[in-house]
Subunit: 222 residues, 2 copies
Amino acid sequence: MDTREFKSSLYKQLAKVTKALSNPHRLEILDLLAQGSFSVEYIAENANMSVANASQHLQVLKKSGLVDTVRDGKYIFYELYDGRVLETWRALRQLGLSRNQEINELLEDYRQRKDQMNLMSSDELFQKLKNNEVYLVDVRPEEEYNLGHIKQAGSLPHKQLKERLQELPTDREIVAYCRGPLCLMADEAVALMRKEGLHATRLENGFADWLAEERPVEITDK
Amino acid sequence: MDTREFKSSLYKQLAKVTKALSNPHRLEILDLLAQGSFSVEYIAENANMSVANASQHLQVLKKSGLVDTVRDGKYIFYELYDGRVLETWRALRQLGLSRNQEINELLEDYRQRKDQMNLMSSDELFQKLKNNEVYLVDVRPEEEYNLGHIKQAGSLPHKQLKERLQELPTDREIVAYCRGPLCLMADEAVALMRKEGLHATRLENGFADWLAEERPVEITDK
DNA sequence: CTTTTATTCAATAAATTTATTGAACGTTAC
DNA sequence: GTAACGTTCAATAAATTTATTGAATAAAAG
């Protein structure tokens, strides 16, 4: 093998990792796995695809070394291989958000339609939590809240929001958060709360980012 | 458009960026553009592909927002869009090197075959340069040396090395560097120097990394 | 104005990636 | 043991990506 062939093989190997990142479904899966480890079934349901399809995508991610599996009883849990994968995913997402104008337009359109543009930064939330100025709700599915959540947050899955609106305070600012900047559960929740006359805002990023920023969380370790 | 469609569009848009990163040729181009801006012809030659093919790949990179173009006379120069692209590329490359065992095996095989396994870290080189303990040579093509190089480095393109061996000192350690950890020019140079009885070592990373680490360089600004 | 040179475009065939389907596998619960 | 359940496999058709070829543009040089 001459030098040129060596070089081609190197980039070909490297592309195995980037190819694994090149599919929208797999990106959505990674974004979900940033929250914790989940079964194939859960992933399929939450990233909106068939179980067989999710399984195939997960195997691509596994072969590329981005995720790993742990068997627990009859379930197989997939998780990010390590913190470096999470960091790279966050950098890529950030790059995408900064370089693809259409993403921002999509997000703005969505929020404008729901009449809520303003987002709260992590810094601001951190301060307001310290001064006990806000009521914080985690609107992700309960399973994810149980794996770990922002300290002082209560669980109120967005699917149950309508029936449990009366639990929310009417005299305080409510902050809702979900998985991350691309997750729309908190946007939907805020829209609904505002329609009910509540003072609600969404956190700009989500749980995985709060964790990566090393801010206070409550984690269930297994 | 309902929430699910919105979400799919978001990840689809994001995948436009990652798809641009999913091809080995385009990775090799990015790695080259980490050194500076170059014409299509130069890129085609140095990344070993036809001009038409390089042009097509470059357009994919441009549409995804990763690179930009500047026209100068009859040449069109391609360059990384900004520092964030460089940082993301470095993170991805690092992730690849850490997660793909075959890359490391390829590199080790290559170096073993050439009987030189030991690499010098940036830290060590920095110290040795300060104490004037090493003779530093940049073995990249002269064009790239002229765009910018490590301070105190002399230019000795690996293609001219054979004829200019007598310029090298026989009584000092020689350090050779090139574009980065995936670039093999410095490995070839070190192998040749050792065969001639010189005391030579390669820098682990390359110019773009030295620059990103904010170590002393000489840059030609235009 | 014509020629030269650098780059891009358009068309095509080959290769790769993808979603879907239904069967197969392996573990748990009974 | 057998049934139920979660996951993977294998086969296939549709969609996308890729390299190659030769023609088309656009700027510079003569």
